[in-house]
């Protein structure tokens, strides 16, 4: 560690001697706040930039040491308005720059200003830099009972290619033990906050090594790989499934793990272990699934009020231990899918909902419904993208999948990104159409089976007998329908008689009688050939007597009805009283009722055969 510092000092002194003069910017005031309360180191610097030379300056350079692992997130905002009126900062584009003459141990970023800075002007800039994997556990191996101590290295003076007039630094540590820290001039410690400064009038590239050795018990959860699959269904659901592979990257655990001691005194035996993960899901998430990667899914009953999901692995994770699990949840469609000018777009968050999780490699797969075309992605930061296809429920060719990959993701990256595509509404009907055609195929198969003659031998006795029986059945059905029509005609006559007793219109009654007569004659004509056929066919032998009986009874019934009708009409014409009518009709009426009953019984009997 000491060697590295001395080497860097050497490099910097050489650099200072050989650096060309940069644009004449001066940082008049620098306030740095380093937040070391979790595994993610966040450095917020507020710079007041002043243009001390002539000419317009349109970019500001920021320098960071390269031996520190790469910067994971860098954001620069500028605040319009002075003093108390702090409007939302406007984010400025930041890029890696390689100006000539910079020492190789530095990585330089360039912030492009929206408005060029004129001579003598000042502006203020807020820079947020996020690092991970920078807190080194020291000692590197601890037992269950030890506390976790880490080292943090930086420079007490703000490292910049410009001269700094006035600067101060404050480091925020977690509420735990501070083992040691570098003491230079103007160092004060208040509880768990260390203040360095103020320092005045420092040259460009001034550097003073700073080391803090302190205890930290926050979880050091790092997901080595996270695959997030987002499946969109236009029937009203967005299904998100996340596959986690998490490692504890703090001080490695050596020695045994005693569950008994851990459960008895968790804060002493296992203070730095990861006990649980807290995930903040969008509101109205439902149907949450969580399972271990062995493939067994356990449904969690969803009754979360604040929509914070607590996931507790079976064992607490100590340094070097790993766990893998899957989380799935469903979201309502209208919160995430929108339509604008004929094109649809999906607006959803990019990274994981778990708090304080650092992801080494993040893969986001967005599965869009079949029939989506013209896909385009817009993300707030650069990602690698490619397209695949996935076959899912009721698919013919497969759904388009957009795969976005990004390495080194911190919770600051959990912003919304959009995917635009166009989709024809009629394509939604493709799915029910597939089901309908499936069922229709079954029905067609049934029809074909019934129509097609599948017998092997066409001249065997049983086959011929079956054919004949089919014909007989058809004929009987026709006979039945004719008899039913005759019965309907009888009903009409009865109705006309009732009308007569109510209204007294004899003429209408007579006309009904005439039409009924005609119909009945037709029916008996139709019956003749059918009866002839039945008499000639041998298969109908056992049923023929019944059919003949039916026809005979029906004829008798017909005659009785006609007789009754004539009697009643006669009585009306002669204007006889009701009593008389009843007396004359009585015998006919009884027979009619009895015959009718018999006819219906016979019909039922024939039906059953």
């Amino acid at each position: 560690m000491g060697f590295w510092l001395r080497f860097n000092l050497l490099v910097f002194t050489i650099a200072i001697l050989s650096t060309p003069v940069l644009s004449d910017l001066i940082l008049s005031k620098v306030d740095r706040r380093i937040d070391l309360t979790s595994q993610i180191v966040r450095i917020t610097s507020t710079l007041k930039v002043e243009n001390a030379g002539s000419g317009l300056v349109s970019e500001v350079l920021l320098a960071f040491q390269s031996f520190r692992l790469k910067i994971w997130y860098l954001m620069a905002t500028t605040n319009e308005g002075k003093g108390k009126t702090k409007s939302a900062g406007v984010s400025l584009p930041v890029e890696i720059a390689n100006p000539k003459g910079m020492p190789p141990a530095l990585t330089v970023y360039s912030v492009s200003l929206s408005k060029a800075l004129g001579e003598g002007d000042t502006m203020s800039l807020d820079v947020l830099a996020v690092f991970t994997h920078t807190l080194k556990p020291f000692p590197e191996k601890i037992t269950q009972a030890d506390i976790q101590l880490v080292l943090f290295q930086d420079s007490a003076y703000y490292l910049s290619p410009y001269a700094v007039k006035f600067q101060s630094l404050s480091i925020k540590l977690p509420d735990a033990r501070i083992e040691s820290y570098t003491k230079i001039e103007n160092t004060k410690i208040h509880g768990s906050e260390i203040k360095y400064g103020p320092y005045e009038n420092l040259h460009p590239f001034s550097y003073s090594p700073l080391v803090v050795h302190f205890e930290i018990n926050q979880p050091f959860a790092v997901a080595q790989e996270l695959v997030r699959e987002i499946e969109v269904s236009h029937w009203g659901n967005v299904q998100v499934t996340e596959h986690y592979n998490i490692v504890h990257e703090g001080a490695k655990s050596e020695g045994e793990f005693s569950r008994l001691e851990y459960q008895a005194r968790p804060h002493i035996r296992g203070s730095s272990a990861i006990r649980h993960f807290v995930a903040k899901l969008p509101p109205r998430a439902h149907s949450i699934i969580i399972g271990m990667k062995l493939g067994i899914y356990q449904h969690l009953i969803c009754g979360l009020i604040l929509k914070e999901l607590l996931i507790e692995p079976r064992y607490p994770m100590f340094g070097g231990w790993r766990t893998a699990f899957i989380i799935g949840y469903s979201l309502p469609l209208q919160d995430f899918l929108f339509e604008l000018e004929g094109k649809r777009f999906l607006n959803i968050s990019f990274a994981s909902p778990i708090n304080d999780l650092v992801i080494d490699n993040l893969v986001v797969k967005v599965v869009l419904p079949e029939g989506s075309r013209d896909l385009s992605v817009s993300t707030p930061f650069p990602v690698k993208q490619r397209q695949e296809s996935k076959i899912s429920h009721l698919d013919v060719v497969g759904r388009p999948v957009i795969v976005l990959e990004k390495a080194d993701v911190v919770p600051e990256h959990n912003q919304y990104f959009q995917i635009h595509y166009s989709f024809n509404k009629l394509s939604m009907l493709r799915e029910p159409f597939m089901l309908i055609s499936g069922f229709f195929f079954l029905f067609v198969a049934c029809i074909v089976y019934v129509h097609v003659d599948l017998s092997i031998s066409k001249s065997s006795a049983s086959y011929l007998a079956k054919l004949q029986w089919d014909e007989v059945r058809a004929t009987i059905q026709q006979v039945e329908s004719i008899i039913n029509q005759c019965l309907a005609t009888h009903e009409k006559i009865e109705a006309s008689l009732r009308d007569l007793s109510r209204i007294g219109d004899v003429q209408a009654c007579k006309t009904t009688r005439k039409t009924a007569d005609g119909l009945l004659k037709e029916h008996s004509k139709e019956l003749k050939p059918l009866l002839a056929f039945l008499q000639s066919s041998p298969a109908a032998a056992n049923i023929l007597p019944k059919v003949e009986e039916l026809v005979a009874k029906e004829r008798e019934l017909q005659e009785r009805w006609m007789a009754k009708h004539s009697i009643i009409v006669d009585c009306y014409e002669k204007k006889l009283g009701g009593r008389e009518i009843e007396n004359r009709v009585a015998p006919q009426q009884q027979k009619v009722v009895a015959l009718r009953q018999e006819v219906e019984d016979l019909l039922e009997y024939i039906d059953e055969i």
Binding site: S330, L337, H393, P432, F440, F443, C446, D470
Partner: protein, 76 residues
């Protein structure tokens, strides 16, 4: 122009009701189809009636099974 949220063409809460009713109607029509097949003899059968009954039944059964899938959580 503010973007308009997109929802399903049929409201979510209707899925179970729609699935039960459509499946019921489809099954009734299927039943009538099979009764017709069983009771009619070779000469009386009419292909047009069979095909229309089958088509109607498969339409209702298809939509009923789609809404059944959606109501049980398989968002196809």
């Amino acid at each position: 122009m503010a973007p308009k949220p997109i929802t399903s063409p049929v409201p979510d809460s209707w899925y179970p009701t729609l699935s039960v009713s459509m499946l019921a109607i489809g099954l009734v029509i299927t039943a009538s189809f099979f009764i017709y097949e069983a009771t009619s003899s070779k000469r009386n059968r009419s292909l047009a009636k069979e095909l229309t009954t089958g088509a109607l039944a498969s339409f209702f059964l298809g939509f009923g099974s789609l809404f059944l899938l959606l109501a049980s959580g398989i968002y196809v």
